[in-house]
Amino acid sequence: MRKLAYRQALNEALAEELARDEDVFLMGEEVAEYNGAYKVSVGLLDKFGPKRVIDTPITEAGFAGIGIGAAMVGLKPVVEMMTFNFAVLALDQIMNTAAKMRYMSGGQLSCPIVIRGPGGAAGHLGAQHSQSLEQQYVHIPGLKVVMPSTPYDAKGLLKSAIRDPDPVVFIESELMYGWEGEVPEEEYLIPIGKADVKREGTDCTILTWSRMVHVALAAAETLAEQGISVEVVDLRSLRPLDKDAIRASVKKTNRAVVIEEAWGWASMGASVADFVSRDLFDFLDAPVGRLHQREIPMPYAYNLEPLNMPNEERVIEAVKRACYVD
């Protein structure tokens, strides 16, 4: 099958949905003439013109709110946040308007908007530019939150997100934009809310999402050589969460490790680990393991930065601990 980079897969999804539905438009900083700060929207201005692909001033709250207002009357905006570090400026609009419109209006309104952009650490950008902030969205009823880990998932899930009648926060990964993966020529959709087993195994389940899926897969490879068979479940969608997929895997392995790039308090990882601990209490042979970013702002220094992040080595340790090995 042909290979596409993560950013190309997203670009295809955008192009296909823009072509499919007149009501879809893309808006954000540098998305049009500059072809995107991270080149996700390359060529879209040329293809669809300035009415459909719109550069905005640097006013996240304002243009997110404008997108949300447009969605309330039936358009299907895709609003790009240059990174989710900046989306916090629009959080009020996202959590208090987009997420609550349907409920507060007694079902009269909906808000079919996608707020998308890269999240997570990029590399040597320091404390304000290297945050994994999905917990700000995962917490909010009314929002859906998706974080794909491969080009294939990215394309199929973004297309579903754009067609979704509810607001979807779609968090990509700055570091993965260039990573390649197989993407079929023919159109396909991936339903929001379904996890994906990225590697089968029998001894321990790793529950993770986005870039950490790849760290987990690398660790699983190494662990396999050491005789430990790890199943890697890519949650893909954080809200809704595919509880059945988690149950199925953990009931098989009886051990679970949750890995996330974000800080660990009041995080998605804490929620997933808590869910496993309580829901699968009688199936667990060991405490659920967790791995997350150190509770420290991201340092710039090149030697300190890696110390803040989960990595293959730490995943291996965590899995071994969960498996009572060594």
Binding site: G65, G69, Q93, Q108, P240
Partner: protein
């Protein structure tokens, strides 16, 4: 003039200001009034009077229901500001959109929502415009193009611009009005929106209902400028300051902005002078205003002014106007009864309208 028909909130004496040359009272600007009679016609003007009076009686009733504990939470009355909503609605077409904040009863009624639907919402009943799930601050009626109803100060302004964006995107030839207060104008997102509205020439009218107070904070203690219309200059946006206590001046002022939006697809910022006779919300004693100030304002009650003008202009007799009041009071009573009798939403509604489909298990 007789006290009995004057609106409850207004003193009986006429505004001290506004004397005619002959020393008698000038109720409303004569030029605008004459223009209004020509362009709107007397019957339409009477309708506008009726809807102002309806708002007034409706909210007086709501206020009493609140004091009886039947309406709870916040309740921000619009009393005193009625001409703005009525003039605005008159300047709009049915297809045009309106977005308000938490002081939204008057706007909702002006845009054509029924007293029943609004009162039932204040009661949290299922026949309320938001099925009782929104409340006083969150009135919605898509069929009337009324889009809330917002609790976060300033948060409604990008929404209004977004609706205008969509109307332009779809060539709806529809105008969107977004209301905000003199205290809300300072919120950053409002300024971000002004820039984009002008940059993208969106068909939107931003209306500051400048009642000179934000809760207990007088305008000059919150704003570095006295005249809020200058805010538009920073964006090259058209603007105007309008007397919102004179229904006709308000109407023509808003109309001009609406025409700019519809004809040229250009935004306007309107700074409309008005005044709220009640506290910020039902729980606010409003001690930050002097008794004199309040009395002077209430002496200029815009409803009384229009009423007196109607009588003096021989458009309607005092008896006819009293008859309206009787009707309207009965109508409001009926809305109250409707709200009282409307059932609360079924408990099954608790789990509805979170997502289009909530079959998935989140908890």
């Amino acid at each position: 003039m007789p006290a009995k028909t004057t609106a409850t909130d207004s003193a009986t004496k006429a505004p001290a200001s506004r004397k005619k040359s002959n020393g008698t009272q000038e109720w409303l600007d004569p030029k605008s009034a004459a223009k209004a009679r020509k362009e709107l016609g007397d019957d339409k003007i009477v309708e506008m009077y009726q809807s102002m009076l309806h708002m007034r009686r409706f909210e007086e009733q709501a206020g009493r229901a609140y004091q009886m504990g039947k309406i709870k939470g916040f309740c921000h009355l619009y009393i005193g500001q009625e001409p703005v909503a009525v003039a605005c609605a008159e300047a709009l077409e049915e297809r045009d959109y309106m977005v308000s904040a938490y002081r939204d009863h008057g706007h909702a009624l002006a845009k054509g929502m029924t007293g029943n639907a609004v009162m039932a919402e204040l009661y949290g009943k299922v026949d309320g415009c938001s099925r009782g799930k929104g409340g006083s601050m969150h009135l919605f009626d898509v069929s009337k193009k009324f889009y809330g109803g917002w609790g976060i100060v300033g948060g409604q302004i990008p929404t209004a611009a977004g609706i205008a964006f969509a109307a332009k995107y779809r060539d709806e030839d529809a105008v969107t009005v977004g209301f905000l207060g003199d205290g809300s104008i300072h919120q950053g997102v409002v300024h971000e929106t002004f820039n984009m509205a002008q940059l993208w020439s969106l068909p939107v009218v931003f209306i500051i209902e400048n009642n000179r107070y934000a809760m207990g904070t007088e305008l000059k203690r919150a704003s570095s400028v006295e005249n809020l219309a200058v805010k538009a200059d920073a964006y090259g946006m058209a603007s105007a300051t309008i007397d919102g206590k004179d229904i006709f001046k308000a109407y023509f002022g808003i109309k001009e902005a609406v025409e700019r939006a519809r004809g040229e697809s250009k935004p306007t910022l309107l700074n409309i002078d008005t005044y709220r006779f009640r506290g910020h919300s039902m729980s606010d004693p409003a001690n930050y205003r002097t008794k004199d100030e309040l009395e002077a304002e209430m002496a200029g009650d815009p409803i009384v002014r229009l009423q007196n003008w109607l009588v003096e202009s021989k458009i309607r007799t005092l008896d006819e106007i009293e008859a309206f009041d009787v009707e309207i009071k009965a109508d409001v009573k009926a809305s109250l009864k409707f709200a009282e009798e409307s059932p609360q939403p079924d408990v099954s509604e608790h789990e509805q309208h979170i997502y289009v489909d909530w079959s998935w298990d989140i908890e």
